[in-house]
Symmetry: C2
Amino acid sequence: MKNLVYDFDEGSRGMKDLLGGKGANLSEMKRIGLPVPPGFVITTEACLEYFEKDNQIFAELEEQIIDHLQDLEEKTGKTLGDPKDPLLVSIRSGAVVSMPGMMDTVLNIGLNDETVEGLGKKTDNMRFALDSYRRLLQMFGDVVLSISSHKFDRALEDLKNNYDIEKDTEMSEDMLKDLIEDYKDIIAKNSSQGFPQDPREQIMEGIRAVFDSWNNERAISYRKINNLPDDLGTAVNIQTMVFGNTGENSATGVAFTRNPSTGEDKVYGEFLVNAQGEDVVAGIRTPHDIKELDDIMPDVYEEFMEIVDKIEHHYKDMQDIEFTIEEGEIYLLQTRTGKRTAKASVKIATDLVSEGIIDEEEALLRVEPEQLEQLLHPSFDEKDIDEEKIITTALAASPGAATGKIYFDPQEAKKAKEKGEKVIMVRGETSPEDIEGMNAADGILTSRGGMTSHAAVVARGMGKCCVAGAGELVVEEESRRFWKDDEIYEQGEIISLNGNTGKVYEGEIRTSAAQLSEEFNQILEWADEVRKLGIMANADTPEDSQTALEFGAEGIGLCRTEHMFFDEERISVVREMILAGNRVERKKALEKLLPYQKEDFTNIFKKMKDRKVVIRLLDPPLHEFLPEKDEEIEKVAENLETTPEKVRDTIAELDEVNPMLGHRGCRLGISYPEIYEMQVKAIISAAAEVSSENSYEVRPQIMIPLVGISEEFSKLKELTEETAEEVLDNQNSEVNFEVGTMIEVPRAAFRADKIASNAEDFFSFGTNDLTQMTYGFSRDDAGKFLREYQEKEIIKRDPFTTIDKEGVGEIVKIAIEKGRQADSSLEIGICGEHGGNPPSIKFCHEEEMNYVSCSPFRLPIARIAAARAEVKENKNI
Amino acid sequence: MKNLVYDFDEGSRGMKDLLGGKGANLSEMKRIGLPVPPGFVITTEACLEYFEKDNQIFAELEEQIIDHLQDLEEKTGKTLGDPKDPLLVSIRSGAVVSMPGMMDTVLNIGLNDETVEGLGKKTDNMRFALDSYRRLLQMFGDVVLSISSHKFDRALEDLKNNYDIEKDTEMSEDMLKDLIEDYKDIIAKNSSQGFPQDPREQIMEGIRAVFDSWNNERAISYRKINNLPDDLGTAVNIQTMVFGNTGENSATGVAFTRNPSTGEDKVYGEFLVNAQGEDVVAGIRTPHDIKELDDIMPDVYEEFMEIVDKIEHHYKDMQDIEFTIEEGEIYLLQTRTGKRTAKASVKIATDLVSEGIIDEEEALLRVEPEQLEQLLHPSFDEKDIDEEKIITTALAASPGAATGKIYFDPQEAKKAKEKGEKVIMVRGETSPEDIEGMNAADGILTSRGGMTSHAAVVARGMGKCCVAGAGELVVEEESRRFWKDDEIYEQGEIISLNGNTGKVYEGEIRTSAAQLSEEFNQILEWADEVRKLGIMANADTPEDSQTALEFGAEGIGLCRTEHMFFDEERISVVREMILAGNRVERKKALEKLLPYQKEDFTNIFKKMKDRKVVIRLLDPPLHEFLPEKDEEIEKVAENLETTPEKVRDTIAELDEVNPMLGHRGCRLGISYPEIYEMQVKAIISAAAEVSSENSYEVRPQIMIPLVGISEEFSKLKELTEETAEEVLDNQNSEVNFEVGTMIEVPRAAFRADKIASNAEDFFSFGTNDLTQMTYGFSRDDAGKFLREYQEKEIIKRDPFTTIDKEGVGEIVKIAIEKGRQADSSLEIGICGEHGGNPPSIKFCHEEEMNYVSCSPFRLPIARIAAARAEVKENKNI
């Protein structure tokens, strides 16, 4: 005969699949000798059989339940329905994975019109007995009979109004008797079944209700959202009642074994004397701090402290526990891993290691890298936030907090910053022309664009707070203002942005800067020891490079060269180059750009010394560099000694319907080899110079973007090598450079063997573009429907944030397989936004990439995520 | 010992790999008893060994050559270098695949200062002997010693000027002697080697030159362009000379065994009496028609006719042959399959079948479907073309020819057409708003856009001639004119477009309409019997459907619904729908559209009867339907009782950076389910009505575009089925409809199993979009760099014309494999532009798709291409 029911004495935490989370933990506590009221668990298998048998509590199951109830009676010395000393139990659901949407708990089962009297007499507390009975009626009505709990609440309110009392505790025995009658009426009116007086029937109905709750709408939709299987079923826990409300010698409470907010190694919790669990939650009375238990019941407190110690050593983590003290006896009713702040998680993890409870690898598993993000950016002083002052809530595009005056024009923002003002840059959306303004800003707010819009990507790269896609706002850049509904916000007004929540507030909110704690650094050190993945940074400037080094980058995995073109001094030369009528003129303009570019690389190389620096040659379509505004067009025309008309013609000619799929990346290098030539010259001569002047060897890695055809790569590699050789021959020096490509066009994956066999030195996945092309989603335009897709549950996660393993990931796999097939030592990394996203980093680890590269401010997260991936692999988690 | 040299008697046509094309055919002719001058072939293997041994004619090879030369001396009774009766030979290269870039021929080898005298005496024709010698010197100098042939030509010119004669034939013996001295001087001055007097040395040097020519620049680049391997090597043919220039009893000529222009079964060729081959090519003397040979040498003519008959029966195809008559003896020097016009290919193929020479399957292999295109469209009267009148040459975007007055505005074009004018529509580029104008036009000319630009795609669909991307032209639509350089072309001026060549001419050129010949229809009939692939048409209107049926469509594989929205009557309702502020207003506008849509489908169903009609629900982004011009915006605002400002706001809001990757396809169906609902209602009610009123059952196939996520499909399939059921319940009728999806987003391929397992009825590959996303090429923007890519040999073929097997094809394969894995009976087709492209059709056949769908005018080509794919598979070609 199959075991469909397990006594708590028979289970353990390893039996979660069969006993559910709650049942397994109750068993486990029992197993290690903690005081748990006796009880048993009906297994998930029983639940599934119940479904198979058309939702019938089949004979075999019923038999086993009855057997276990008899055992319980023996153990407790009490009997179900005994009018003198009735056995009372609770019924709780307990799925394998906790599911908030499901039926939860019915307490005090076993009470009826008769046993309530016995309980009253036995405890010498008729009020308590009656209160317990009315609670049973309400819970049974609500949970088992599906009667709206509002009906019970209203009856209670009416009664209190009638008797003109305020608190539940003021109810007299008579009042409680009236209430019990009212509740019975409600049940009779709203249910054909009625409330069963037979305790066994109560139990069977309760079990049936828990089983059925597995298939209620909320549970189904919860599983759908969280991608949980429908065929697991739920366990049911039947446990002897203990009462915290039998008098001043009883109490009930909750506690964390350590402080969940700071992580401090002190028990943190509260309790209520003479109360039942729900009273603590309801917050009607102010509970005592757990330390006060020492004063009230010193023996119990001592025992409790021993329990805490035992349970933490056993579970090896901070626990969140529920307990009840009945007549001076303490009982544990639940334990689970306690939720904690980022700060606490770091402190607890490192403390547990120094206490010898866990090792470094375990510690890494105890910190959630995503959560740590908040420790890396400034944050609002919680007390200073006034939720009434919210202007709008939009996409939390880049974390952190910022307060400042709003500016709309990048130049004006820059000037304000120079005057020492705090600046919030507000735009419809940003473009590369706005970089200087964004650089000057403390926070960025846009009314259009999604998580991977220009504003969002650049802000994350800069480690600046950004709220994007605030569609409720109308931004009028020309008139320097934005409005929401009828409220107008003018330039210079102060607003505050929360990049963690996407909330925008009127007025100032105090912020405090981020500081990495000693414990955080300790965790990072452990991470670096464990991880296999290299961690590189996306950095375009010497300043970024400095930040990257401080945050532990091993090199630069993506240095974009286009941002270098937007500097005020250079942009006019860049435009001259683009508007040149022929190659000779273009080369002239490029000659002027060369010293600038060389200086850029020189300064970056000096920072990075002998670390690898992957430099991507020019990528965006040329029209991105051209002016849009009339005045700018006129200025350009003047500079170039031509007419605004001609400039406009060229702009129109270069305009593209789908710039994302247009004349950009290596396609530019094919059409205008002189541009790439200039860049390679700048890189190689800078590298030669810095190496010769210092004791280290600079290691530039030249990266060709957007390759989809192997000939694109071979042609441009040849160009690169020839140009480099020419430079080196002229200077009579040597530079150890490599040439590789970004894999960001789906086709590149299928041709990866061809591309790699062409003496490719490295691949770097540009998963932003790869995601765009694999889904056919433009990141500039998809914002509006991607949000809808998430709401309608068509996609679970934004594929621009977490790599889409099923589509994009498959393409990545093909590329790696084919690339390594052609060249088994091929170095492979990722430099898209996903490089800083923990689940994506795990994927990169699993696919045996060599490194991930992300924005400097994500580096600590990436280091930890990489280490966790390795630990999980080792532990087979 | 390995055979490095084969006598013609030892070879056959099957030994092409070893003997090269020429050598194998010479052997084959010999084998079947045709008169071929004796000789032998040095194998390609010998060539490769020569390369391996550092370009040395190694001992073993030399030995075998000498052995075969001795054989040749025995066979001919002549001896190399014999001063009385010297053996003379030709040396010709002969690669496996004909390579025009390589060294070709040296004739008259074996002549020297001594043997020239002997030849003169023996033939009693010293002039002939001297002329042969000076030719040898020139050819040897040019081909073996790499001396520019201009030097020899100049010497010849100087001599003729000195003696004041015009024709080569006027040269006397003395003059020729002078010329020989001049030539020797040139060789001595320009080569260290000099001209070898020893015939064997001549032969060895000639062989070495042929071998070396395999690696000359032209040959290498030819192989690169044509993707031929570099490691094949070339064979060398050494053949006894025969002379057509020994007197009036000799001649030389070329002939086709049938008329290569009409296909008529009459030998077509020409010859020159007393001449050598090069004279025929040079065109100095007017050759005789082959029939005149009957008068001049009746016996030879009779023999020649027998040879023609034999050779055609043997090769089972029309042959292009070279022959020489020496002293009344006819010799064949070459045979190869003759090139022919499309018309001739059809005629010859069907004639060969009726003559019992080949069977129907063979006939299908004898017509090149791409070539047949010219038979399906109007064409220019060749004699009426004046190449001086070319305005520009651009992309041959849609075949055919058209002459007419230029119009720039679609409405004006329409009016002109109604007045009976012939119209050429000229635009910068076209957009869906121009459809009516394009419909009215005989030809379309655009200054921007590539092979898959809107203009090109729509024109091909309409079967209209189109020249696109004429970048040299500046089109000013507002002022109704275009210009090239300083030349201005005003509205109403006449131009002519050749859609086969991309040429644009000033003025009128006479055109003649296409007509399918009886033979063509015969071929199509055979094709339909053989092919496995279904052939469907892309057709959006009843007119298109009619054309499709006439050209043999089995159904409609793609009926786009967006074109239906552009009709003048409807576009304002469409705009009302788009600009609606909420769902209620939108539904109101959709209600108004419903009867129009229903009528569209009713008329198409009536044409197609019980054939499948695959209808794609709305695909393009909504902003495509919005007006651009101020006047139109004002009109719309007036219609909608709103302000132009508000309309502009909505237009700006809907504007997208990359519309191709934006809010379109099924994404619209998710956001605005009411639009798809209306379309489904229209389809199903029309189908129910037509079926009930007729004896056939209409078979609508509803296709959801741009699916990349399986939930997109399942949600919209549900919507479709619910809507359809509602309609059918209301009407109390039944319709056998199916729901499927387009596979056009790369991700869809990787999720094809999920999508198909969702009760998917069919897949249809949208390879246009799939190509765009796989390469990251926007078809609107890629035109400019794709042309450059072809010029620079980065790509061989436009991937929008011929499917890219290595990238896009791999994705297609994955989708088919995964789709059929989930549902083995899944119907799979293709409806992109590739559906009408023969190599792509072959791919579809090989991948076991069920059908291809293409524009009506490509149907005959597709039918033949599909049949050929099957025949090739059966014959393992």
